[in-house]
Symmetry: C2
Subunit: 335 residues, 2 copies
């Protein structure tokens, strides 16, 4: 491939605004102050958890549009995805909005996938702007992937808790003061033979390693060149594996490396086992915490890596192993 | 939106090759001679239908690459999707291939969505080439969306039969002799209140109407300007609704209009009710029949419209209505 996995955005598409909404558990975590909206009830006034998850998209996008000084009718395209079967949280969210919709499925890598595609389309002038909006919900995900919540089934220490929430960003042309995407490395599907659906961190870490390694090689960078490197949702288990993999190459992922799945909750106090997971993990942590740091110039050059675990309940039943994927996007703060 | 739904590809990305594989029922239909491979057994030598569906991608892409005179390692990106929960037919197909993977979910609009995105990315030079690969399988879809096949449940006359197969195309720079994409109109999510999951044609027809109408308006074209207009899988019911909708506007969809869902099977002889459906319907009919007509110059200017029905079994259980989406791509034959 000779470096062709890395795509450069010569016009540096701008992130004009970002919005986020999270659930009660996330609101009780250390990042609560960074989210635009924290809700108490997982149904958020809707009849079903699924309807609530769809509504999260509308709410998060509303904040993003407001900050970008745009209205819904200004949007040229929405790239959106979630974890539900047939991605219904996102497709139902954009019913009758009149805005073109491109549905994505990259499991928990969807936010980085969407940000990459949106950046390419705005960079090339095919679109003036595009929204990326990604959601997940603990209650919709548990019953779909594992057991009905009412079972109260016990989960092993390697398991992670799906983030309830949604994060949206607006990618567009704009002035240099905004955070901007510089380049992205697209990931291939990597399967290291993990077959435990309660250990997705281990299933995704090899994909994260491959993509980050290629990003460093292709852009001639080293981890310490970044003010922040954030993987999506490897959790405690996956984060340690990633650090170990780089360590074997003599490369140190230092204090500038975080995993959003380890940041979202206070792991010891909140009883979330290996940390947070879900499409909305990177989407909300980016739209809240990371955007805040970019806007305040706490960080000037960062790398986010969305990590996705590509199994389904059916593939687990069929004794298949779990493939992973990871896409990385390099972002700089504005001037 | 003022015409901004339509995206123009100024460099006319070329379709260097297309490959298709279909199942037994499709092989017994009127288009059989156009497909690269017709199989007898739905498992095609694999242990499960799902594994067979994954393999379809590899086989269809193999034909497409061969015709494009490329190897797998020449590919810069694969955009791929299917109908299975968590899109596992496609993500499992590309395990350990080392080629960047972007997962899409647009239900049966996925092929048109992928062709549109691939065309933008190649047009802009962000990618030298990209494959689009889309699959569905009657046996995997029936048990996931409806009932286990062994039930032998009866279906109403409005129901359609999911196509078993996969279609892949290679979009790349190339010389003018190849078929090429000219522009595309991105569709929004349209919900007309249909709630019968056995009548997806009716659920998708309004979205097809909206997108095609915008395409004609934005490009200042009329249906008779095209040698062929092909919707994806409206079936007999949806096709008639679409013709009726345009007829009310005084616009005639003439003999140049076909629906791939009505072409795939001999509806009367093969007992398929309203026709064919599924992601692979447009993907295989395009990769086989339509590409053949473009290469032979039978048709010089065509419009394909991928139509997707965005429900899930859960949303049907929850009494939600069925949203539809449609993306249209205009293609010309080479010189």
């Amino acid at each position: 491939m000779n470096g062709k996995e890395t795509i450069y955005f010569k016009n540096h598409p701008k992130i004009l605004g970002a919005g986020s909404i999270v659930g009660k558990y996330e609101s009780d975590g250390p990042l609560a102050e960074y989210f635009d909206k924290c809700i108490e009830d997982g149904r958020n006034g809707e009849d079903t958890w699924e309807q609530a998850e769809s509504k999260f998209h509308n709410i998060a996008l509303g904040f993003a549009l407001g900050k970008a000084n745009l209205g819904m009718s200004d949007l040229q395209c929405i790239l959106s995805g979630d974890l539900l079967n047939q991605c219904v949280a996102s497709s139902f969210a954009w019913r009758d909005m009149g805005v073109p919709f491109l549905g994505l499925y990259g499991a928990c890598s969807t936010f980085a996938e969407g940000l990459t595609i949106a950046s390419m389309l705005v960079d090339s002038d095919h679109l003036d702007n595009a929204a990326v909006s990604v959601s997940s919900h603990f209650c919709t995900a548990e019953r779909q992937y594992r057991n009905p919540l009412a079972y109260g089934s016990q989960r092993p220490p390697t398991a992670q808790r799906t983030v309830t929430g949604a994060g949206s960003v607006i990618v567009a042309k704009g002035c240099e003061k905004h955070p901007q995407t510089v380049c992205a490395t697209l990931g291939a599907v990597v399967d290291s033979g993990i077959n435990d659906a309660n250990n997705m961190g281990a299933a995704m870490a090899p994909a994260a390693y491959e993509t980050l390694k290629k990003h460093f090689e292709n852009t001639n960078a080293k981890p310490s060149d970044f003010d922040l490197i954030a993987t999506g949702d490897l959790g405690e288990v996956g984060r340690k594996i990633l650090i170990e993999f780089f360590s074997r190459d003599g490369v140190e992922l230092g204090d500038n490396y975080i995993d959003c799945g380890c940041e979202m909750f206070d792991i010891h106090r909140q009883d979330v086992h290996s940390g947070a997971s879900g499409c909305a993990c990177l989407a909300t942590v980016f739209s809240g915490y990371i955007m805040s740091g970019l806007l305040s110039k706490k960080w000037n050059r960062i790398l986010i890596a969305g990590t996705g675990s590509l199994q389904s309940p059916l593939t687990i039943q069929q004794k298949e192993t779990i493939p992973g994927v990871c896409h990385a996007v390099e972002i700089i703060s504005g001037e």
